[in-house]
Amino acid sequence: MRQLLALLLAGLMAFGVGIGAAQADSILAMNPEDTFETPEQLQRYEKMINDLRCVVCQNQSVAESNVDLARDLRRITRDMILAGRTDAEIKQFMTDRYGDFVLYNPPLKPTTYLLWGAPVILLLLGAIVMVSVVGRRAGESGDDAEGMGENT
C-alpha cells in the first residue's frame, strides 16, 4: 500500500514538473524579450503590439491574444523592428493587409473626420446648451431671487 502511494506521489510530481516545463516553454515563446538588442527596441515592440488589434478576436490587442494570427503578427513585428524598420513601415505593413481596422489609433482622414471630431462637436454642443441655459437663468435671476426670498 505504501509503495503504491509513493508511486502515485512520484507520478504526480513528475506530472507537475512536466506542466511546469510546458508552461515555461510557452512563456518563452510568448515573450521574445531576449531577442531584442536594445531596451528601446523592446519598448517600441510593446507599444506596437498593444496598438494593434487582433482581427480574429476583435476586442483584444495583438499583445493580449494567443491565436495563431496574433502570434504571427507579434513575430513579424519583432522581426521588422530587428531589421531596422520604422514604426510607420510596420503600421503600413499591417494596414496593407488588414486595413485601418487593425489600428486601435485610426489615422485622421476624410472617413474618420467624424470619429475624431465627435468629442469636440459634443463638447461644443454641451457648451452651447450650458451657455443658453445659464444665460436664461441669469436673465430671470431678479424674479427667481424674489420668489426664493418669499419661500424662505
Binding site: V55, Q58, D72, I76, R97, Y98, G99
Partner: protein, 179 residues
C-alpha cells in the same frame, strides 16, 4: 412655452436607437478588406496534392478566378464544401484553393472523402501566404479579375445566395468587357 424643446431628448433617443437597430444587422466580423481594387498579393507555395509543383498567384491570371481559403479544422469550410463542388461542376469560373494552417494528410483526406473542387490548391501550413492576403478567419473567398485584381472578398461560408448576389454579377461584368 416652447414645448417642442421637451421633445429633444426623445428625438435624440430615436436617432441613437436608429443607429443601434442598424447595428443589429451588421456583422462585426466583417472587416473591410484593403485589398479590394488592388493587385492580388503574390504567393508561391507548394501544390497541396502535387508537392513537387508550385502554385503561384500568376497561375490564376487570364480569366476571372475564385480563390477559396479553407482548412479541415474549419466548420464553415465543411458547410460550404457541397456548394464548392457544385460550382466546380458548373465550370462557371476556375476555382482555386488555399489550404490554410492545416496538415497535408488531413487536407488530402478531406478532399478524397468530400470531393475535390479545386484546379490548384496552395499548401500554406504556416499561414505565410495567407497573411499577405489579410486572411484572418476561414473560410474566405476572393474574386479576381483576369488581370489579377482583387474584385471582391467574402467572409464566411459561400452559398448560392451570396454567389447570386455578389459574385455572379461581377463575373458577368468582367466577361462583358474582356481585357
Amino acid at each position: 412655452m416652447k414645448s417642442w424643446k421637451y421633445l429633444l431628448p426623445a428625438l435624440a433617443f430615436l436617432v441613437l436607437a436608429g443607429f443601434f437597430y442598424r447595428g443589429l444587422f451588421l456583422d462585426p466580423r466583417t472587416v473591410p478588406s484593403p485589398l479590394i481594387g488592388k493587385p492580388a498579393p503574390a504567393f508561391q507555395l507548394e501544390e497541396l496534392r502535387r508537392p513537387s509543383e508550385t502554385f503561384a498567384t500568376a497561375d490564376m491570371l487570364g480569366k476571372p478566378a475564385v480563390l477559396n481559403v479553407w482548412a479541415t479544422w474549419c466548420a464553415g469550410c465543411r458547410q460550404e464544401h457541397p456548394f464548392l463542388m457544385q460550382l466546380a461542376r458548373s465550370g462557371e469560373v476556375p476555382l482555386y484553393g488555399m489550404n490554410y494552417r492545416d496538415e497535408r494528410g488531413a487536407a488530402l483526406d478531406w478532399l478524397q472523402r468530400l470531393g475535390d473542387p479545386y484546379e490548384k490548391v496552395a499548401y500554406d501550413p504556416q499561414g505565410d501566404g495567407s497573411l499577405d492576403w489579410g486572411v484572418y478567419g476561414s473560410p474566405e473567398t476572393f474574386l479576381l479579375d483576369p488581370a489579377g485584381t482583387v474584385v471582391y472578398k467574402h467572409l464566411g461560408p459561400l452559398g448560392p445566395t451570396v454567389w447570386e448576389r455578389e459574385f455572379r454579377p461581377r463575373i458577368a461584368a468582367m466577361q462583358g468587357s474582356p481585357q
